[in-house]
Symmetry: D2
């Protein structure tokens, strides 16, 4: 699918986040270099996000080891700004038990989309972006997405090792710990759940 | 996950099939060498197969291009032999519109499990086996399986190219056409459905 | 909904059944007089029956007390006659654990619809018929049906007592026991599961 | 189920509502006398309410004619008071397209359950109360509830006409219009969707 003359996929510029929840420290895209990243952008009052997008992000978080893949949420508000506050988001996260780090996208112009939402050219919520180990955008999807298709993409990207031209492998080692509770492992004997392995 | 001292995964011996449905010609495992294979073993009167296993095999068939992955079904009867006949299976396939090739596992001892079921050491139905491009068993799973986890394994195996020690790449070219109607493609711009690409 | 000039709903003529499964003795419509009846007609190789119709009939069977409502299945074959035999049906019932009585509709002309299917004017499978306590057809529905809507109709019909002109209340007492394992009861304190009460 | 010595079910006292949404005028329980009532109490940040309770209330609203049954929602906040405001609730209703009237339960003691929640003795959200045409509590259920079971109860209560001792039938005529878009009708010929009939 990649032809010799294809331009390389764009490297995603960093997000602009005004607050972080579910993580002891702010997270930069650079700090995730070396791992595959699923960035799930949502609004807490978006029905499709609540019904499909966020549960899928949570499942991804459970199914892959944190050493290989990081799931990050981004609250990209473009409507109902007055009520989708950080405080409301915190209650929402608490009630739904989302376990991955969630950033609050910095506000844009009053009443308009938030800053990273504009920077990334998102069409709406939910939107999912998948980055490879070098931070290049491999998927930019608006709306619902099939688990099988997303799983295949993530599995494919995880199996591509970090290239030497992109720095040594130690990047992941120093990354902030972005982990979910458990990872599922599939090998010859079947599938099992295990933390930190794949 | 693979350590230097791990034994190599076993290469699956060929199946023993008494009849083929949904394909113009019999299929051997050798003819699929060069592609990843999902072998779904089932019984037409097994509720878990009808509710979960077979629909998942069909989704896999739709989600991956035939040039990279082959889905094959195997009817492994170990109970109710008198009524799970080839003729009954044909009606079942017709009504449920399964689109992948399905082999009828050769009968074993009267009243017992079918021959390939015994040969592969299957514990029951549904059982799924995933083979890499060299025909080595990478997953042997009994029961229900998560789409995300299965997708990740298939994506990972597809991304590993056929090694030179396993013969040249022409094997896939001459393989019987084992294809479903459509494949879903995910790249930078999002996911789309397309035949024969990935 | 019933206006003074509406003709009375038709009383359903009896079925013509060649064999009964899941019941110690044949069941006639007359023997069910005094109870509301859900008659679910299906084919074992009909995907919609397996996915929606039969599970709904089973849920109805569990949700209502046998003293008020009887669920009866009818295997109305109109295709694949050679493989949808009584023996195959018996294996199917065993594997899916259907708990209500199921009659095998008597064969019609070779290759055509079964006899009761023609007599009742069924358009296909799944079809559901609901009869009131006097055996009059209150619903004749082809295809999928909403649980809430079906529940409302059954609740409404159950609440209408058997009229004196239709014989005394002893009819139900002598009816063959057509029961499922448990019934769910709803009253002021909430819903609970209980056998034989409502 | 009702024995001669059973005490009559309690008549529900009126709610204490500080604001109404989705209705042109406030609604009192008295104004609904003559119709069956489903009162669905919820919180907008309660996952079970969003996933099960509110969609079920909406389905009930669609399945029954407004002349027979009224669906009323009540936002009973007992946690996260600062963010579950009327303004937030308005955005929530807009995004999820709930079509039935929703009252905001009057605040109780600071940080505690709202007033009607305490008055009705609700254990949490979602809780559903079903009232008969005389306003008597026929169901008080906390948590998820089966559609078939709820439908049966509603159908049963709807079929019981308003007694003469409870006032003439004109009560419903003067009731505020509490209606959803469409009602589903089941009769001999099958089920169909229709506004205002049953």
């Amino acid at each position: 699918m990649t032809r010799p003359t294809d331009p390389p996929p764009p490297v995603l510029p960093d997000w602009v986040v005004s607050a972080w929840l579910n993580t002891p420290a702010p997270i930069t895209l650079d700090s995730l270099r070396g791992r595959v990243v699923l960035l799930h952008t949502f609004q807490m009052l978006c029905p499709g996000c609540v019904a499909y997008g966020l549960p899928q992000a949570e499942r991804v978080c459970q199914a892959f080891p944190a050493s290989e893949l990081a799931v990050v949420g981004l609250h990209t508000v473009f409507e109902h700004h007055a009520v989708m506050t950080v405080e409301a988001l915190r209650a929402f996260i608490h009630e739904y038990r989302w376990s991955f780090p969630i950033g609050v996208d910095a506000p844009g112009t009053p009443g308009g989309p938030s800053r990273t939402m504009t920077r990334y050219g998102l069409r709406g919520t939910p939107s999912s972006l998948v980055l490879d180990r070098q931070g290049r955008v491999r998927l930019h999807h608006f709306g619902r997405m099939d688990d099988l298709v997303l799983g295949a993409l993530l599995g494919r990207l995880i199996s591509i090792p970090d290239g030497p031209e992109d720095g040594d492998e130690t990047s992941a080692v120093h990354a902030p710990h972005v982990a979910c509770s458990e990872a599922t492992v599939c090998e010859t004997a079947g599938c099992r759940t295990e933390a930190g392995a794949w």
